[in-house]
Symmetry: C2
């Protein structure tokens, strides 16, 4: 069974939509890198049962991503936020070095605080 | 059957997860404000069938929002983006009036462009 690197990312977004058993199997397999045999032993089902759970979970998550695009949209948002932060830093540096405006400084602080909140979302 | 204003919002995020019939019924009911009888006539099923489709669709969408929180997160992101935009405007105004820095102006343009992209997401 080949591993798909996208699955770990999808698990962050869609893990709540899986059954406990599916989620557990996928986490062991993709995040903890256990073998199917080890997972089977840990959760007390057959090796084939583990394989089926993982395959089913992958299907559910890829289907949801195709329809909802949460992972894709999150990556696009993150890219925009990175660009915004880089440009805020440029403004901040200019302001600190040359203009020393308290008003601009205050607005920069507010923006950086919001960017921090968005990062933790 | 009482209307829940949240349903229209959820439809934007989770509409793709409904069956065609469910989505059609919910759109007619919540977005176009048709009566159950009118919807029944339009899509050629019974009035009770329409009611069941809508109830089922609502359950699916509320369950998904409880687990995935896309609508809630989107609202939080939108609020942060509004605050960022308001503060970029403050910086822009200050820069235009007093400092006239091309570097700051250029960074502001880039940021506003990214905010525009994020709004259309």
């Amino acid at each position: 069974m080949s591993k798909n690197l996208e699955v770990s990312a999808l698990l962050d977004f869609y893990g709540q939509m899986l059954t406990d058993k599916q989620r557990e199997a996928v986490e062991y397999y993709y995040n903890d890198d256990l073998s199917l045999g080890e997972i089977a032993e840990n959760i007390g089902i057959s090796r084939q049962g583990v394989r089926d759970s993982i395959k089913r979970a992958e299907t559910v998550m890829f289907d949801m991503e195709k329809k909802l695009r949460i992972a894709e949209k999150t990556r696009m948002v993150q890219k925009s936020l990175d660009t915004i932060r880089a440009n805020i830093n440029i403004i901040d540096e200019r302001n600190m070095k040359i203009y020393r405006s308290d008003v601009i400084n205050e607005s920069i602080k507010v923006i950086l605080n919001e960017l921090g909140k968005l990062d933790s979302e």
